[in-house]
Structure formats: structure tokens, C-alpha cells
């Protein structure tokens, strides 16, 4: 099964939110998903109801077979937290990742597994993990905010000069425009700019929606928190598109949210 890396040159653009809800969207439609957190903040686990005091994580077991360390957080859904770490532990971890073919050999049981979809979350900017995973990753998803600051990132992305040329491995990179708000004219203009420039490389747009933060606060998926949430719908559409691009079957092809439901 494919490997999806979610990365971004900037922090706070909604990477982890996207990772969590994409994972939920796939697992709810019957695909076995493992989410791996490569971000030392170790925050992804909080979206999946893993306890704050649980300090397990991959950072301490770089050479162990990760597949046996997966924490089952929901039906079809598994999680590998980064774990609590100090500076030295992180340095050792990065050293381990530097081995050529680290993901092909050391972690092959996980990254070669035909039954498992891997979604990896990264810290902003360049990281060793992102560099190393490029050998196996099929698809990069780059969430960006629909604000004025992103426009300068757009042009960098378009010229391919972002993140030391990392973006573009496998099937290439796709943009997700996060926190779109059509009430704001500037926001609409950024959307139009992205639409005209990225064309097919624009995977989708996600509405700015407090349902997402509320759901995260309650450690549930946004689909479970409010099935009518606009952002939930947007992310589900993105999940369907990802499946299409990667060419794998979503076992239950139906949407969690029926796009044109009738009133009850």
C-alpha cells in the first residue's frame, strides 16, 4: 500500500489536523491505516485519544520493527507516536534514519505491507525523516493556509525550490489549501490564484471551520463530532481524490457524508 507524507515549509498550517482526519476518512471506509508521527512535538497522538501520559514512541526504537509497536486507536486505525525524547535521543534517531534504504530494509515489514496505508506527519520545514522517507514515499501533501503570506510560498513551490528539492518524489506533491473563508475577499483571491496556478496539483480546499478544533479538543474525528461540518466534507473529498491518484480501492466507496441528503 502507498505511503503519504504530509509536510509543509511552515508550521501551524493544519498538517496534523489533515493527517488525523484523512486517517479517519480512510479507516472509516475500510482501509487499514497506520499514522506515523515524525514530529518531536509528539502531538498527533492527541487527535487519536492516546493518553497524554503515554510516552511510548518510535524515537526510542529506531531499529526495532515498528509494526509490533503500533497502538490500535480505532477500527482499522493504528498509530505510531513520536514519543517523549531528549536532544540526544533525537540525534540518534536521525542518525539511524540516515542509513541508506532505512525504510526499505529496517522497516520494510511496515513500509512494504500491501494491507496497510501509511500516513506520515512531519515537523515543519526540512527534517531528516522527510529526507529519508523520500525513497519510499508515494505522495506528498503540502497543506498551506489561504492567506496572503502563502502567496510567496506558492511561487517558490511552483519553481520547485522549496525544502531543498524534497518535494516531488514519487507521484509528486499536491497542495491542500486550508482554512478557506469565502467571506473574505483576499481569501477568495488566494483561492483563485492557487486554482489557476496549481490546477490539477491542487488537491482540494478545506473550509475554516471551528468544528475541526472542537473535534480535536474532544479527541474525536470531525466526522464523529459533527457529520455536517463543511471541513469534514472537504477532507473526505480530498481522501477520495488521494485514493484515486494512488490507484487503490476504497473498500466502501460511499461517502461518510451523503453530499445531497434528504431532510430526515
Amino acid at each position: 500500500m502507498p505511503i503519504i507524507s504530509v509536510c509543509s515549509p511552515k508550521g501551524g498550517v493544519g498538517k496534523t489536523t489533515l493527517v488525523a482526519n484523512l486517517a479517519y476518512a480512510f479507516s472509516k471506509s475500510g482501509t487499514k491505516v497506520v499514522v506515523i508521527d515524525f514530529d518531536p512535538q509528539n502531538a498527533t497522538r492527541l487527535y487519536f485519544g492516546v493518553s497524554l501520559t503515554d510516552e511510548r514512541g518510535i524515537v526510542t526504537i529506531p531499529n526495532k520493527d515498528w509494526i509490533s509497536s503500533c497502538i490500535n486507536v480505532d477500527r482499522n486505525l493504528y498509530m505510531l507516536p513520536f514519543g517523549k525524547s531528549n536532544k540526544e535521543q533525537r540525534a540518534i534517531f536521525d542518525e539511524a534514519l540516515k542509513q541508506p534504504n532505512y525504510f526499505k530494509e529496517v522497516q520494510s515489514s511496515l513500509f512494504d505491507n500491501p494491507d496497510i496505508l501509511v500516513i506520515a506527519d512531519f515537523a515543519p520545514g526540512y527534517t531528516q525523516a522527510l529526507d529519508s522517507i523520500a525513497t519510499v514515499s508515494n505522495l506528498q501533501i503540502v497543506p498551506l493556509l489561504a492567506d496572503a503570506a502563502s502567496v510567496s510560498l506558492f511561487s517558490q513551490l511552483l519553481s520547485g525550490g522549496l525544502m531543498d528539492g524534497l518535494v516531488g518524489g514519487g507521484l509528486g506533491y499536491y497542495i491542500v489549501l486550508n482554512q478557506i473563508d469565502n467571506r473574505i475577499k483576499l481569501n477568495r483571491e488566494v483561492q483563485n490564484f492557487a486554482l489557476t496556478n496549481f490546477k490539477d496539483n491542487l488537491l482540494g480546499m478545506v473550509h475554516k471551520d471551528t468544528n475541526v478544533t472542537e473535534a480535536a479538543g474532544q479527541q474525536v474525528s470531525v466526522y464523529d463530532y459533527n457529520k455536517n461540518s463543511a471541513a469534514a466534507f472537504d477532507m473526505e473529498v480530498i481522501a477520495k481524490k488521494v485514493a484515486q491518484i494512488l490507484g487503490f480501492d476504497v473498500k466502501k466507496g460511499t461517502m461518510i457524508i451523503n453530499p445531497l441528503r434528504k431532510p430526515n
Binding site: 473563508d181 473550509h207 471551520d209 459533527n226 455536517n228 461540518s229 453530499p259 431532510p263
Partner: protein, 703 residues
């Protein structure tokens, strides 16, 4: 050779036979058998085949039977015992001859209709002509005109070849301001000479597009209007005019007050379908003032739009055709407008049309003058004399009174003999009209439309006939609302009086028939006249029901539109739901539950509509719903700016598939008559039309 043989056959074989069939005298018994045979033959043929040839055969039989009746009337029924009988007798005869001629003309017009196809524009855009869009207005509210202008801006045509002008004869400052804000041309003038025609002619001096598209200020165009109409002008350099149907998305007074929501073709469908298609076949389509494209060079040749009559449109077309220019009719609904709202406005509008057509008949008679083919002359004759129907209609309404109340006998001969000739003529005319255009007008409804108008048209047509320069242009009011239901006594006063007389005559005669010892009444003629009077009474009551104005408070029309929407709440929650219907002022969406559905604490502030045509975001305010249906939320729009409004127009009116003529059931004269009775019953029992929505469903964006 083939043509020669056909002519020879027609002259030597068919003509003598037909003449013989028309003039052969028969006894009542034989004539009955002959008549019933013709009727049965036509019905059987009609059931067996839908082919045009069969329709034509039915028409021939109908014409033979009607001609036979007219021959009988002229030769055997004109013996009158006194002068009074004679005067009324000849009046009725004249009315019947009029109807007979109209029947022949309409068969000629409708038998060969041209189903014109859209000529695609060449792929090389540089060959496309430049187009000026004129939107003339005089006193209509900005609210009506605004969307028409915005819709014209949504027309799909190269930007550098399309110019839009608002021609404001009202010299209104807010219109000038609006035109500037919307970025369209604004043209006004110092005088109002020659009303609309003068307004258009003035604009022609200031603009220079090769083609001119004209939209009345309430006719909202779809984006494909020019793509569908301009191609023909490139293909045919002698084409001067392309007319398209006027389609009304609001109900006219007859639909609103009498149909009461039933699926009955509206009045103008017959004209903007079979009649104009038939005219097109003879190259005699005429201009209807709006929703049309005209070639400037052709107009220049005749000195611009005709200003001599109050129906400048038809007259302009006639002039163009006298100069050898072609006209065409494209039977695709490419724009939608507002129907006249009230009966009184409807009457005023038809009054103008009637005067204008009679003016053309007098001042530029299509039978006379140069440049027209015989077929064109007949088509224009049919149009310009159409409004004379008022007088015969009234004669037919009143005639039974003469016998029932005053004992005046105006048709000589036995009832049996008269019926044996008249019944096949009447039954077959109804039947073949139904076969010819039953999908566009149901049987007997034409008579109701005529009766609604006829009392009000006698004076204007007669006065104009003798004083064609008399009278002025009156503007039809559009976009008003009927605030409260009321009965328009004034407009149907003559109908009420005649109905009362007919009722009186029927009761009076029935009483007389029941008391044969006291009164000397002939049963046959009395029964016949009672039947006739009752039929008239039913149609009259239907016409009177149109005067019961139903309240129509909705200022803008609602349209069903099923697209996804996102609603923004004050807290920042954004929720996806479905739009159900939309108007320019508000909308209805599916309600939803969940953690954010307490709308009192967390009101919905904005609404984002997404479809494959456009996406837009608008400020909204939730409004209370009359029906208290918890499944839906109702909103009104606030602070809609012009750009947002244009997107609304694009979504609501500008789509290629906005207007589709519904498929009406096939006409059946008996069913149609029964429907009329039902309409009358519902109207008298106070039933009101509830749905005033034009149905148009648009698929959701595929995501």
C-alpha cells in the same frame, strides 16, 4: 414534368370531385350519415397515424366539410321573414364567414411548420460580427431592469465584440448611476418622440454594432442567446431578423386566476410555437419587440424602426420583408420574462397590440404594395386582422339571446338539416385544430382567451380602423404584485351583464318549454339555442373567473435549485447543507442538527453557494418560516453588492438550461372541456393558486 402531372391531376380530377362534394345537396338524413362518416374517418386516421401527411388529409376533409357548411348556409338558409331577422341573420353570417376565413388562414399558416436548427458560429472568432445589446426602458422599476442588464453581461460572446446599452427613456438618475456601476452603456435623450421605436432609433445613431440584440427590460437572457442566434446571420447574408420565443416565468392573470396550478399550456405558447414556426416556413416571421437579433444594415435600409404605429415591431418586420430581407424564428426558449401581472394590465397590453395591428392593416396593408410573396401577404394578413376576432366573438355570444328572448329567427331551415351540416363542420374544426396544435393550446381555451378580451377590443379596433392615426403608445406594467385578492369587477362588467342575460334567457325558455299549454315554443330550435347559450355561459363564466385576482405577494420569483451550500455561523463553525430553492432576495436550505445547531445562540451570518457555474458568498439573515417546517431554514439576503447579484443572475437565469418548456399532455377536446368546468368550480369555491414557482432543477456539482 412531375409538377405538371400533379397540377393536371389537381385541376382535372381532384377539383371537380371536391366541388361536387362541396355543393351536392343532401337530405338531412343523408347529410348526417355523410358527416358522421367524415368524423369517424378522421378520428380513425388520427388514432392510427401521427404522420404529417395524415394530418394534412384530416385538414383537407375538415376544409371540405366546413366549405360544404358555408355553401349550405349561403344557398339555403338566407330567407328571412322580416327586416330585423335579416339584419341579425346577415350579422351572424358575416361572423361565420370571418371564422371560416380565419380557419383557412390558420390551416395555411400552421400546416407546414419549419423546425429551424441552431447554426453554430464558425470556429474563427474574427468572423463573428459585433453585437450591440439594447435594453430599452421607460418607467419600469430599477429592480426589474437590473437583472436584465446583469444577465446580458453574462452572455457568452467575445468581450471586444459585445456592447450592452441601457436605453433609458425615463431620464432617471439612478439608472445612469446603476449603468455606470455595472459598467454598461447608458443612453437617454431629450425628448420621448415615437416611444420605444424612437428610443431604439436614437440609440442606433450612437452605436455601431453590426447586429442589434433587443431585450425588453424584463426579459432576462440566458448566456447562450447570441451563440444560438448569430450563426444564422453569418451563414445567410440576407437575413435581417432572428426572433426567439417570449417565455414568461411568472404566471399571467389567466394562469394565476383560472388554471390554479393546473398543467395547461399558457396563452402565448401557440403563437411562439406553431404560428411563428409556420410563418418562418413562408419567410414571414415577424418581430415581436424583444428577444430578437436584427441586422443593422437592413434597418438602415428602411430608415430604422417603424414609428408610424404602436406595434413598431411587426411593422418593422413587414418593411424589411418588402425590401426582400429574410426573417427567421428559432423555437428555443433563450430568455425569460415577466408576464403581465393583472387582468387589467393584460387588457391594456392587448389593446395596444390590437390597435397597432389594425394600424398596420390600414396604413401598410400587407395585401397591397410591393415586395411580398403571396404566402407572406397571407401570413401578415392573418396577423394584422387577428384582433378583429372581437366582433364575431361577441356576435356568437349574443345570438342565442335573440331567439330565446325575442323570438328572432335568424337561420332559415329545419333544425335537423342545420345540425346535419353544422355538426361535422364544428366537430371537425375542433378536432383538426386539436390535432394540429393540441400540445400548444387545449381545445376551447382559445375561445376563453378571446372572450376575456373581446368586449374591450371592439372599440379600439373599430376606431383605429377608421382613424388609424389616433391613439398613442402605452407601456405595459411589469413586475408589480397583487397585494390582496380582489375581484376586478370593472374588467369583467360586460361579461357579467351578458352572462346574466344568457342565464335569464335559459331559465325563461326552460320555463316556457315546461309549460307547453301556455307558451307556443318550438322544441327543436329552443333546445338548440339553450344548448348554445349554455355553452357560451360556461366560457363566459370561465372568463369572469380571470377577474378574481389572486394575491401574489412574492416580489421575486423562486426557483428550485438543488446545490450544496456552506453556512457560516457567528462562532466560526462552517456547515455543509443543501440549497432547496433560491430567489434574488432569499433562499431555503435544509436544516441540520449537531453541536452547532442552536441558531439563536449562534446565528448563521453568511451563506456560500457552490455550483459548477459559480460560487458566491452572501450575507444572510435567518427569517421565520410561515409553515414552521423544522426541516428547512429560511434566509433573506442582506447587503448584496452588484458583483454578487450578477453571480446570482448567472446561477438563476443565465444557464443554458434555465427555461425548458414543460411537456404538456396531449389535448383531448372532451377532457379539455371538463378541465374548464373544474377550473370554474375551483375558482368559484375560492381555491387559490399556492405554488408560484417555476420548476428548474440543477444538478449538484460533482465533487
Amino acid at each position: 414534368m412531375k409538377k405538371f402531372l400533379l397540377t393536371a391531376f389537381l385541376l382535372l380530377v381532384a377539383a371537380p370531385i371536391v366541388t361536387l362534394v362541396v355543393i351536392a345537396p343532401m337530405s338531412a338524413h343523408n347529410q348526417f350519415i355523410f358527416g358522421i362518416t367524415m368524423i369517424i374517418a378522421c378520428i380513425v386516421a388520427s388514432v392510427c397515424s401521427k404522420k404529417h401527411f395524415i394530418s394534412f388529409c384530416i385538414l383537407v376533409v375538415t376544409v371540405i366539410s366546413s366549405t360544404r357548411y358555408m355553401f349550405f348556409r349561403l344557398t339555403q338558409t338566407l330567407e328571412f321573414p322580416s327586416l330585423i331577422d335579416m339584419i341579425f341573420g346577415y350579422l351572424l353570417l358575416a361572423a361565420e364567414i370571418y371564422v371560416y376565413i380565419v380557419l383557412l388562414l390558420s390551416f395555411f399558416q400552421l400546416s407546414w411548420s419549419l423546425k429551424r436548427k441552431i447554426v453554430p458560429l464558425p470556429s474563427d472568432e474574427s468572423k463573428w460580427p459585433t453585437v450591440d445589446v439594447y435594453i430599452p426602458t421607460y418607467n419600469e422599476p430599477l429592480q426589474v431592469v437590473r437583472d436584465t442588464v446583469l444577465a446580458a453581461q453574462c452572455l457568452e460572446y467575445p468581450k471586444d465584440k459585445l456592447k450592452i446599452y441601457l436605453l433609458d427613456d425615463g431620464k432617471r438618475k439612478e439608472f445612469a448611476a446603476f449603468a455606470t456601476e455595472a459598467n454598461v452603456g447608458y443612453i437617454t435623450r431629450t425628448n420621448n418622440f415615437h416611444a420605444k421605436a424612437g428610443n431604439l432609433n436614437h440609440a442606433m445613431t450612437l452605436t455601431n454594432g453590426e447586429l442589434i440584440a433587443i431585450f425588453d427590460c424584463d426579459h432576462i437572457t440566458t448566456k447562450i442567446f447570441l451563440q444560438s442566434t448569430v450563426g444564422e446571420f453569418i451563414k445567410d447574408k440576407r437575413l435581417a431578423l432572428m426572433q426567439t420565443p417570449h417565455h414568461f416565468y411568472s404566471p399571467d392573470p389567466i394562469q394565476r386566476n383560472l388554471y390554479l396550478g393546473r398543467d395547461i399550456p399558457p396563452e402565448n405558447d401557440l403563437f411562439y410555437g406553431p404560428i411563428q414556426r409556420g410563418n418562418d416556413n413562408w419567410n414571414a416571421t415577424f418581430f415581436c419587440g424583444s428577444c430578437a437579433v436584427i441586422r443593422r444594415s437592413a434597418l438602415d435600409e428602411i430608415g430604422g424602426f417603424a414609428v408610424e404605429t404602436v406595434t413598431e415591431d411587426a411593422h418593422t418586420a413587414l418593411r424589411l420583408q418588402r425590401r426582400g430581407w429574410k426573417t427567421a424564428f428559432l423555437d428555443h426558449i433563450l430568455s425569460g420574462g415577466l408576464a403581465t401581472e393583472r387582468l387589467i394590465d393584460h387588457l391594456a397590453q392587448r389593446n395596444r397590440w390590437a390597435r397597432g395591428m389594425v394600424q398596420i392593416f390600414r396604413l401598410d396593408n400587407p395585401l397591397l404594395g410591393k415586395g411580398l410573396s403571396l404566402a407572406q401577404r397571407l401570413c401578415y394578413l392573418s396577423a394584422t386582422t387577428y384582433f378583429f376576432f372581437a366582433i364575431p366573438t361577441i356576435i356568437f355570444l349574443l345570438t342565442p339571446l335573440l331567439y330565446l328572448l325575442f323570438g328572432i329567427s335568424i337561420v332559415h331551415g329545419s333544425v335537423e338539416l342545420l345540425l346535419s351540416y353544422a355538426l361535422p363542420h364544428l366537430v371537425l374544426s375542433v378536432f383538426s385544430n386539436s390535432r394540429l396544435y393540441g400540445n400548444y393550446r387545449y381545445s376551447f381555451w382559445g375561445q376563453i382567451y378571446d372572450i376575456v378580451l373581446s368586449f374591450h377590443l371592439v372599440l379600439p379596433t373599430v376606431v383605429t380602423l377608421f382613424m388609424p392615426h389616433h391613439g398613442s403608445f402605452n407601456v405595459t406594467d411589469k413586475g408589480q404584485t397583487v397585494e390582496k385578492s380582489y375581484f376586478d369587477v370593472h374588467s369583467v362588467k360586460p361579461h357579467l351583464i351578458v352572462s346574466f342575460l344568457l342565464l335569464l334567457a335559459i331559465v325563461f325558455s326552460l320555463v316556457k318549454l315546461c309549460l307547453p299549454n301556455y307558451f307556443d315554443m318550438q322544441v327543436g330550435p329552443t333546445a338548440l339555442n339553450i344548448f348554445w347559450a349554455s355553452f357560451n355561459l360556461i366560457l363566459l363564466i370561465a372568463a369572469i373567473c380571470v377577474g378574481r385576482e389572486t394575491a401574489n405577494k412574492r416580489k421575486t420569483q423562486r426557483i428550485f435549485l438543488e446545490v450544496p451550500v456552506n453556512v457560516y455561523q457567528a462562532s466560526g463553525a462552517c456547515t455543509r447543507t443543501v440549497l432547496r430553492d433560491l430567489s434574488m432576495s432569499g433562499c431555503r436550505v435544509d436544516s441540520f442538527d449537531g453541536p452547532t445547531s442552536n441558531f439563536n445562540e449562534d446565528p448563521i451570518t453568511d451563506l456560500e453557494i457552490n455550483s459548477d457555474i459559480t460560487s458566491l458568498c452572501v450575507n444572510v439573515q435567518q427569517i421565520a418560516d410561515m409553515h414552521k417546517d423544522p426541516n428547512y431554514l429560511h434566509f433573506s439576503f442582506v447587503n448584496v453588492d452588484l458583483d454578487t447579484r450578477r453571480e446570482f443572475v448567472r446561477l438563476l437565469f443565465s444557464r443554458a438550461d434555465t427555461w425548458v418548456r414543460p411537456n404538456y399532455k396531449k389535448d383531448n377536446p372532451l377532457v379539455s372541456f371538463f378541465t374548464i368546468l373544474c377550473c370554474i368550480k375551483d375558482s368559484l369555491f375560492g381555491k387559490r393558486r399556492t405554488d408560484d414557482i417555476h420548476v428548474a432543477v440543477v444538478g449538484a456539482k460533482n465533487e
